[in-house]
Symmetry: C2
Subunit: 387 residues, 2 copies
């Protein structure tokens, strides 16, 4: 149960042979009855837009926000592949549409994996009948597994909205930075909603989840979050739908951060007391991307001087005399000078997997939190080669 | 010979006991005759400004751009140290001034090392008579050595300006990013020049050197570049002075990049064909700070897809159909798709220490180059703890 938790959806995942490893690499989410339902998406803002993003956007526009199925593959991002890439993305949709007896525009497509390599389209087309045939209400786990790349665990979520369900799956372990947080996610719900309501729920839901996740400052070419609504639970309160979608997104984002490439720490980096929320967000993001700070976290070293230096240089309002930092609620710096503190308690917090760090600028009411992680040897190992 | 290459200057470096290792840590550059000369400086733009920067700025203002000496220490940055830090920086200047029989405002001060730790001011004051006594025209090497922190080699330069000399020394191995490139540098010349001319020469000289160096995107609290002119060579052509200072800065910047923490590659990352020089610079800097790209370089992997993705997401004008990338002059991507190329020749270039990478946006005449490096396991080792 996950992306198929909401009544009205089926899913499947198979090994089609795209990955040399032979691991599952072709995934499908579809309506159980093969009828189109309301659908919406949010996408990467990277101008180096991958072919499946271009294709999915066009299909949602052609259908005024409706879809029967989403086909996803891992092992190849179909990015930086030119017109051939568009043709291949369309071919994936058409092949699924043929199996389901629907129009190709009613099928959406997502790809993740290597950039700049032509799609093995014959392999994918050969695999599509089997993934379509395998679809079932029990197929959520298999679908979530087949979209993994360097992920070590499948990311899934089920949220009880009170009379309706939001379920979902996601992948993402690096190139994780808004906007979007770099990733693929498919969410489903049995709530009845228009495409506009689904889009509003997604925009609301990604703001404090995927768009507040920053692993390495790198925004990818393929980010896509899709939400399909079967409507089987009937109309629901819009606020309740927004909230359930937001909770699903938050859970998937946290799962991605916890599985980030090489990460040994999950860090909630909060900036408070900024002149505005925008300045707080700029500061929190800047610190979260600082390799020197990230190395400190990996080394369990509460070296707040680097956080002070980053916040002083990132362009936001900053006054050393008003600046303080706490690790796990223990203030280690006040007025930008060392504050007497319980070093053993700080060391104990730093040794844990979850760090809570607050830098207070003492200037206003602006606040923001970025979900991030440390920089480890394993991140380098993972990314020394094409992956 | 280096910072003492220009007639009229003496220097020294001693181990005063600031560093626990016992390595040299206290450095002096002074006029040979103890008389003030024209001087100018450029400094970090970090609002978390370290005490020695505040003090040196104030002294240059008080003297209308004149100085007798610069005292520098490694092992402690005197940053995030509050009013006590200012008092300590003033005390360092006063102690040198007493030994030289000049006013404290005629002494400039630079510090580099740990942030947030009070200065061991008694240790420093105890060392000052010995570093002043040791000053000589042969003291350049010792002075350059005593400002090293994680540097593995001393950085020195001598430029023949044609009738005059520019000499200099610098330190810097991480937290290297404009503005300034994070570092300390002291330059001297025997050219005769006003403080205003020296400032103009410095501003010109740092633009394409220290300010075009980006190792880790982290701007430090203590960046300072100082230029003192003894005037013994008489008046010189202003353009010649600017050029010689720029060449000295470029040499020191290249030495810093080559000694960057953990670096195995020195990379000239050029963006051409941008809509403007500003957009080219934004793009080149964005790619130079991308951990995924830097890991590729470490792994000798010409994974241009990550460069395309970064340039597509950094906010500048970008059109995939016009985009190309070359490694060592060999085009590997054209129109944002893979270009037929000699993979063995590219592999050979990537295996070298010096990489030349050009990303062409195909949109205009804007161009910029950033001097940068790769991200290695050793960078993490270096920065896991307080350093």
């Amino acid at each position: 149960m996950s992306v198929t938790a909401a009544p009205g959806f089926v899913a499947a995942g198979v090994a089609a042979g795209i990955k040399a490893s032979g691991n599952p690499d072709l995934s499908l989410v579809a309506t159980a009855d093969g009828k189109p339902v309301a659908a919406a998406g949010v996408f990467t803002r990277n101008k180096m837009t991958a072919a499946p993003v271009i294709t999915t956007r066009a299909h949602l526009e052609a259908t005024a926000g409706h879809a029967v199925a989403v086909v996803l593959n891992s092992g190849n991002a179909n990015a930086a592949t030119g017109q051939q890439g568009i043709d291949d993305a369309e071919a994936m949709c058409a092949a699924v549409a043929t199996e389901l007896g629907v129009d190709a525009s009613q099928v959406l497509v997502c790809s993740t994996g290597l950039i700049g390599i032509p799609m093995p389209i014959d392999v994918i087309k050969a695999g599509i009948p089997s993934v379509v045939a395998a679809r079932s209400a029990d197929g959520g786990q298999a679908a979530a597994t087949a979209i993994m790349t360097t992920d070590t665990v499948a990311k899934q979520v089920v949220i009880d909205g009170g009379g309706f369900v939001v379920g979902g799956m996601a992948k993402g372990a690096a190139m994780l930075s808004p906007n979007m947080a770099t990733m693929l996610a498919v969410l489903t719900t049995d709530a009845a909603a228009t495409p506009e309501q689904l889009k509003a729920a997604l925009v609301y839901g990604v703001a404090d989840s995927f768009n507040a996740l920053d692993v390495d400052g790198c925004t990818s070419t393929n980010d896509t979050v899709l939400l399909l609504a079967s409507g089987l639970a009937g109309s629901v309160d819009e606020a309740a739908l927004n909230d359930a979608v937001a909770r699903a997104c938050a859970s998937l984002a946290a799962q991605m951060c916890a599985d980030a490439e090489g990460a040994t720490k999950v860090v909630r980096m909060t900036v408070t007391g900024a002149a505005s929320d925008e300045e707080a967000l700029l500061g929190a993001r800047y610190v979260s991307r600082s390799n020197l700070v990230k190395c400190s976290w990996y080394g369990c070293d509460p070296y707040w001087g680097r956080i002070a230096s980053d916040l002083g240089s990132c362009g936001i309002d900053f006054d050393p005399s008003k600046f303080s930092v706490s690790y796990g609620g223990i203030t280690v710096c006040r007025g930008a000078i060392d504050a007497d503190h319980d070093a053993a308690a700080v060391a104990s917090h730093m040794a844990g997997r979850n760090l809570e760090i607050v830098a207070d600028l003492g200037l206003g009411t602006g606040t923001a939190t970025i979900l991030t992680n440390d920089l480890s040897h394993a991140y380098i190992d993972e990314n020394m080669g094409t992956s």
